[in-house]
């Protein structure tokens, strides 16, 4: 009853989120005195299960052809069945779109409570408390969950990974016979070009905001800079809403939550909703014409200049320094 179950969609592989999720799960299981169990679902589950067997006490593969590709209702039914049978104290998921879509409904069907976007989970007496940002990152709240199991989706990438165990955990296959629920069906799935290397996994990010002024400089100015740095490209909500770059580039409270070693914000003011997406970045730096721009309050270093002047010169300097 004190077990922690982590649920993963295998499609993203053994990434930083999967590792952080296992880390968060292990620490919580130790605190509760329970076991750490993983439920892995979807194509690629076998490979991922092997990785998790080194970190978890048990790993369960949801084994059914209908679950290979994500379908919201069918996957939800499978997780309800598997988590229900394990009767855990806590279920942890990542903050990918699929997990966010499913978590509240999973909690509902298990008779529990959910809370999302957690950055810290701790046990307090009988209750579970989860810290999360609210008001677009302007404030932090601690939420106490009233029902068990507690279903929590986490900013998994900001959690340290779990130590490997001496003995591998047992991997089992749950032969499921979940009826496919066809009231909704994914009929087309498209990956944006950059989506191949995920923004959330990037170690360096070059990001542009409203001050970029249009779509072209993203291609002509920022992209070559990103290439030099081996960085991924991102953008603020304003730049995405303007249609300059795809919505998958959006970083912020309502976009991606990223955890790079360096986040270079170019012509981004730094509204709190944007900062909420980069609060776990190791180093933040900015190029902005306004020395009072809120972004600088979060920067370790910055330059007050027009990016149009800085970026071409910066590329030259970086290329020279890298030689």
């Amino acid at each position: 009853m004190n077990d922690v179950v982590i649920c993963l969609f295998a499609s993203a592989g053994f990434d930083k989120a999967a590792q952080g999720l296992a880390g968060a799960g292990r620490r919580l299981a130790d605190e509760l005195g329970g076991r750490l169990r993983a439920v892995v679902i979807g194509a690629g589950a076998d490979t991922l299960a092997l990785e998790f067997s080194r970190l978890c006490d048990t790993v369960i593969i949801a084994d059914q052809a209908e679950l290979a590709e994500y379908q919201p209702e069918t996957c939800l039914n499978a997780l309800v069945r598997l988590c229900g049978e394990l009767s855990p104290r806590t279920v942890l998921l990542g903050n990918d779109a699929y997990s966010q879509e499913i978590a509240p409904r999973l909690a509902y069907r298990l008779g529990g409570s959910a809370v999302g976007d957690g950055v810290e989970v701790r046990v307090e007496g009988e209750a579970l408390r989860v810290s999360r940002q609210v008001y677009g990152g302007k404030a932090q709240a601690v939420i106490e969950l009233k029902r068990m199991p507690a279903v929590v989706w986490l900013r998994a990438r900001s959690f340290a990974p779990a130590p490997a165990r001496a003995e591998a955990g047992e991997v089992t296959r749950a032969a499921l016979d979940i009826q496919a629920d066809t009231r909704t069906r994914v009929i087309e799935r498209k990956r944006e070009e950059q989506g191949e290397a995920r923004l959330e996994e990037a170690r360096v990010i070059v990001s542009g905001g409203r001050g970029i002024g249009g779509p072209e400089p993203f291609t002509t100015e920022l992209q070559p800079l990103a290439d030099l740095l081996g960085a991924q490209m991102a953008a603020s909500r304003a730049a995405c809403d303007a249609g300059w770059v795809p919505p998958t580039w959006q970083v912020g409270q309502t976009g991606k939550k990223v955890t790079p070693d360096l986040y270079l914000a170019i012509a981004i003011t730094g509204a709190s909703q944007h900062m909420a997406g980069i609060s776990e970045a190791k180093t933040i730096s900015a190029i902005n014409t306004d020395p009072d721009a809120p972004i600088f309050k979060h920067c370790q270093f910055g330059i007050v200049e027009d990016y149009r002047k800085v970026v071409p010169l910066l590329r030259e300097k970086l290329a020279a320094l890298q030689k």
């Binding site: 699929y98 408390r129 008001y135 939420i143 994914v186 919505p247 920067c299 910055g302």
Partner: protein, 268 residues
């Protein structure tokens, strides 16, 4: 087609951080001089519904809100944006009810309002950002749910929903009725209503119900904390001192900026 769009009125999320205060004892944000606005994702949902109605030619859009009496303004604005009907459930209890309470109240109101093919909510709100109302509402109503939708088409009695994923997008086909949570993209920025339509909207009918009108456990709804409760609310004190690169010329400044970047990235 009958469409219902849920709207939440919130404290304007655009207020600068320096003007933002919380009351830690009551675990609520202070209103201060901030405006009350409709949550942006709710407006994205309404805009998506309006565009769907424009394409199908015939659809009725009802807007629904559970909130303080002031939430009437959000509904009036929605009418000015050309929603067809509006209903307000007045919250005279916990001003920040947990997501399950909200979902139960909305579900009861929806059942009382009629039957709908499509129920839309914003993906999350700019205040508490729980991101749970859509999913829990779907459960309360026994319907499927599709999240992070930015466009909806109707074709031969079926719905086609385009939605954003972490790596791109998906298209889902769905049999109504369903619940959809809506996110923003360049095509569903909410339209600005005409001033005249805003004025006219205050003459349009608007249904108002109390929690006691809905046939639910009204006192439990007023408490609004059987699912979870806010144990603490505070403003984290975290400010970094930014080191601005210096130099007599642009060239010198960029040179030292480049060096700082190399320092950070070569340590990777």
């Amino acid at each position: 087609m009958n469409i219902l769009v849920c709207l939440k009125q919130i404290l304007d999320p655009e207020i600068p951080a320096r003007d933002f205060r919380v009351d830690p004892a009551r675990r609520e944000a202070e209103r201060g001089s901030a405006n009350l606005v409709t949550n942006i994702f709710c407006e994205n949902a309404l805009e998506t519904a309006l565009q769907l109605r424009e394409r199908t030619g015939s659809a009725k859009i009802t807007v629904l809100s559970y909130g303080q009496p002031s939430a009437e303004d959000s509904l009036r604005k929605a009418l000015a944006m050309k929603a067809d009907a509006a209903a307000l459930i007045v919250n005279d209890g916990n001003a920040n009810p947990d997501p399950l309470t909200t979902a139960r109240v909305l579900a009861a109101a929806i059942r009382k309002l009629g039957t709908f093919d499509l129920i839309m909510v914003g993906r999350e709100a700019g205040d508490w950002g729980a991101g749970q109302t859509g999913g829990l509402l779907a459960e309360e109503l026994g319907l499927p749910c599709v999240s992070f939708v930015d466009r909806i088409e109707s074709e031969g009695g079926q719905l086609r929903l385009k939605r954003q994923t972490d790596t791109g997008w998906e298209v889902l086909e769905a049999e109504p009725p369903i619940v959809a949570t809506v996110t923003n993209d360049e095509h569903n920025l909410p339209r600005i209503p005409k001033v005249r339509d805003v004025m006219m909207s205050y003459r349009q009918p608007l249904t108002k119900w109390t929690l006691d009108d809905l046939g639910i456990e009204a006192n439990e709804a007023r408490a609004g904390n059987t699912y979870y409760q806010v144990a603490e609310l505070f403003i984290p004190q975290k400010e970094t001192r930014c080191e601005f690169v210096t130099g007599d010329t642009l060239d010198q400044k960029v040179e030292s900026f480049a060096k700082r970047i190399v320092e950070v990235t070569s340590a990777l």
